[in-house]
Amino acid sequence: MTKKQLSDSINNNILTYNKLTNWKKYVIISIIILFFLFLYILSFGIQSFLQQLVNGIQLGSIYALIALGYTMVYGIVRLINFAHGDLFMFGAYISYFLGNYFIAHNFHYSFIIVLILSMAFTALLGMTIERIAYRPLRFKPRLAALITALGVSLFLENFFALSADNVPFPLNKIVFGPRFLAFPALIVPKTYNLAGISINNIKILDLIITVILMILLQYIVKKTMIGKAMRAVAFNKDACLMMGININNIISITFGIGTSLAAAAGTLFALTYGQLGSPYLGIWPGLKAFIAAVLGGIGSIPGAMLGSYVMGISETFATSINSNFGYGIAFVILIVVLIFKPAGLLGKFTKEKV
């Protein structure tokens, strides 16, 4: 087979994969979704609908930042990093301390500095965790690393929840304590009214920062040499070794980028809600974001974004009807999507060859 024939056959395969052979299914699904939205508008009014949409997009942006980290780490080492939600928590707490410091010293542009520093610190923690807990298990059974990830997650939660009074000297400067903390107002909230819909400047900021970080991430993965190496490692580790790519460095960098995104999400989360409950706050956002990543097709970056926005919007809509309903809807959507598309919305379904 010549080179041209080979590339032609590959193109053909891709085309047949993308062809909408069962377009009827998609039409029916979109009609069902539109029907539900119509029902919502009928019963609650168009204004409430738009308001919930705005809230949903804001929640979805925070989920998206966490989900991107999950998906990157999964894509490259096939590990569900359960400690990701706790790195999100760590980022939020770090920005709490930095924010208090900067406000006390009257810094300008303190929010951006806090965001970047918190991302950097959390990336360091993430890379340390990878070095200590995950690297020794890289070529061991895959589930061992999963249990270590669970252990790291439990450790981070419970360690930072220790109260500083009962902890010996060097450690009592590090722990956060189990108490409720009010997040410093790094940006003074201003509410705008657009035709009856209240939009907060923090909500706009959430969306802008998320979009900027996503574009940056997409640029890094698609256009730079590091991104190329990342994609190569995700594709085939053994071939990378032969091509002279340093797998350890690339995986370390991926963990750094993923955890820094989680830290950005943590900072935005704390800024939006203005409070930090306890060091256990990362569990549920982390789980929801993970579900969002799976919904979009785990391992795919656009999929994680899409899944997160679907999750965020559907969750706010359901919560506005009933809070318990809002909790369960995410999982119902997940099951329905996975039954129809077993690899998520944008994931590739690979057939196993013998």
Partner: protein, 354 residues
Amino acid sequence: MKIIKKIINLIKKYYKFILITVLVYLLVEILNGTIPIVPRLLNRYYMQILMFALINIIMTVSLNLINGFTGQFSIGHAGFMCIGAYTSAYFTTILFKAAKMAYFPQLTLFIFSLIMGGLMAAIAGYLIGLPTLKLKGDYLAIITLAFGEIVRSIVRASDEIAAFLKQIGLVQYSETIAKISGPRGLSTIPALSKFWLVYFIAILSVIIMRNFIYSTHGRACLSIRENEVAAETMGINTTRYKIIAFSMSAFFAGVGGGLFAHVLRFIHPDNFSFIKSIDYLIYLYAGGMGSITGSILAATGLTILPEFLRVINFQQWRMVIYPLLLIILMLRKPEGIFGKREFSFLVPKRKEVN
């Protein structure tokens, strides 16, 4: 005479197993003060921990059937437990008032309610087993996780469901469902789980599991774990065996949940969250996947360890030390403490084939 001979033969074959179980039981009863030889050393708190350890053995061994022996990856085991706990509590607390009954009717009712709880959980397991036709690996894990959380959020929404049923006009159903009182938790469950009963059921479940695994059907499950494609080529109906494994495991999880409800005497849907499933996953992998011995020892040890740390005045640090030990264990022995090895008395002796 034939029967007596058979029994004697069985005792001869399994004398080690019988000896160990009886000795452990006698030891606990002596320390508990039921058999008055030494002063009572175990108070009710210790006995409760021991019962939880036994329930965790049931749960871990049943999880082992899915994760360890069939090679599927389920992380929603607490969902089955939740179904079992609520079903059996429904029979003993809401439908019949077991607290006011005489001893033997009470015991019969309790065992009946446990079996019903197990059956309900098994039906749920069957339903969850169906998507395994399509999904595998991490996607299956997420489906099971989502299942567990959906069960929990349905129980949490019991008030809304009751109100809805009342609206349609099914008043008697709505009253029973309102009695579950999901968000407030179901209390006043009679303390029917006695130590001997929990111990007996734990031993029974271990024996049944072990007999299943070394039977033809168990061999089929093992072959699915080793290589699904090869198993299918050898004429094993992989779907059927996966579903059998799921329902059987769910049955024991349901029984475990019923026992749990009657030890704790108060159940709340948040008792059966994702965090509980994670606990069982940790017990399973720490002990070693595919080893009943490992499951038993790890479930006992890791249930007692946090409480032991509490007793020796490590109150603050116990939940920090526990994950640290887990991480160190997984780094040192990635395949778990026992790997795939078993105690010799849990492995049947093969007949010599001439």
